[in-house]
Amino acid sequence: MVFSIKAIILENQKILPDFYRMVLAVPSIAREAEPGQFVMLKTSNTLDPLLKRPISIHRINKAEGTIALVYQVIGRGTNLLSQITQGELEVMGPLGNGFYWKKDYKKVAIVGGGCGIAPLPALAEELVKDGKEVYVLLGAQTREKLLCVADFQQLGCKVQVTTDDGSYGTKGFVTEILQEFILNTKIDQVYCCGPLPMTKGVIKLTKENLIPCQVSLEERMACGIGACLGCACKVRNEDGTITYKKVCHDGPVFTSSEVIIDD
């Protein structure tokens, strides 16, 4: 089921200079939501901006009927969103295919970068509940743009952090610590969400090391549910042919082996 309804804004506050955390009371969506899925948000009650904005589900609280989102203010839509402090918001969701895991996974690694970290705590929570040992590797430009460290720590994950400028954790890129890490630890699955260069790096490393990997992708969206074909992503099918899948409907999570990321 997909819902398009008014959610009540319980919280919408700045958590870092450019980032906001929003909590929405929206039981129908919370009930169905799975880690890796996203929602589309109307950012204005006028016709401009026209389109809804896709934002991943950051935390899911089925008991309380709430979902939390974490978003970066980068353009007009997210800017307007950050100014709404109370009241209702039109939300459509839950959308897309989330992350998957198998019973027999023992150790898994979550690799996140920039605002791609936002959806990963919901995943970590489920994985921990399911008894996996969850390693989390995070990358950010700088301390002021580093998301969710506390979320992962509270869940009992083992967290390692890199920042480009060394202001938190190790200085460098998250792919560097991933490389080291997978040499020393047997990982059943890597989950990845972050900027494209990072995603590419992670795909390359996991491929070389024969570790299955799921990546969450972004693409510009209009409908968000698979009807407009706007959010195409090139994939290699099992028969070797190349076609497009829809990020909003077939993704945003894909197995790294199928997606083709152009430069």
């Binding site: 016709l47 459509m92 510009r220 409908c223 549910i225 698979g226 009807a227 407009c228 706007g230």
Partner: protein
Amino acid sequence: MTNLAVEVAGIKLKNPVLTASGCYGFGQEYNRLYDISRLGGIMTKGTTLEPRLGNPTPRLAETPAGILNSIGLQNPGIDRVIEEEIPWLRQFDVAIIANISGYSFDEFEEMATRLDGVPGVDALEINISCPNVKGGGMAFGTDPNTAALVVKRVRAKTKLPLIVKLSPNVTDITEIARAVESEGADAVSLINTILGMAIDIKNRRPVLANVLGGLSGPAVKPVAVRMVYQVSKAVKVPIIGMGGITSFEDAIEFMLAGASAVAIGAGNFVNPFTPLEVITGLEEWLDKEGIKDIRELVGALKA
């Protein structure tokens, strides 16, 4: 009880609200949100003879009150549409209008032939106006002779009602409308998207990988209403009006201007329930105004 039913090109629609081609797939997606048999009809995603991958991404750009798209007719090809999509859609009590795009007269002809007699298909919408495909598409729709010839050739191959989708990217749309009417179009639908462009100033590149795209959404509504009005003065065949409809008031504008039915494209993205809200809105408004039959509105503009 107010009558909402209309007839367009010989197809009976239980209400005049359709969904526009390319904005509604083949109905499956929105059926997850509501029962699509509540619609008057569905104009299916533009189909070509062969399967097509479509254009590279980004394919979408948001503009003030509008949206640019350069999907480029990604579709599984006419045969799979006939085998898979139409049969699924048939289970619903909703008119099915199959939108087809050709790269040559022969292709249009061939698709019409294959669709003729396919159970469930109520009419063909001939897209001679897609701005997003090179070598074809819009070229058919910007010249009256070419437009007429497409209709003539398709007309010979099928008994299905023909709805011709007109391009707004022309100096005089009435000229094209008259040309296709004279070759047997049973209705015209308008407008398709207006050719546009957006630039990402940070990287100095077009936002769309395809450089140009088609503009639709509320931004184009005044242009669409104008063209519906002009075409309604120029031809006798019914008009399906579209371009920027997001409310029942918008739908009434189109009907007063001369449209017998309306279609909702980008409005689905703004709010997935737009078509239903338009239907309910029309119903309530007609009731309030004491209008017994929605057909009274068609072309009822005082001007």
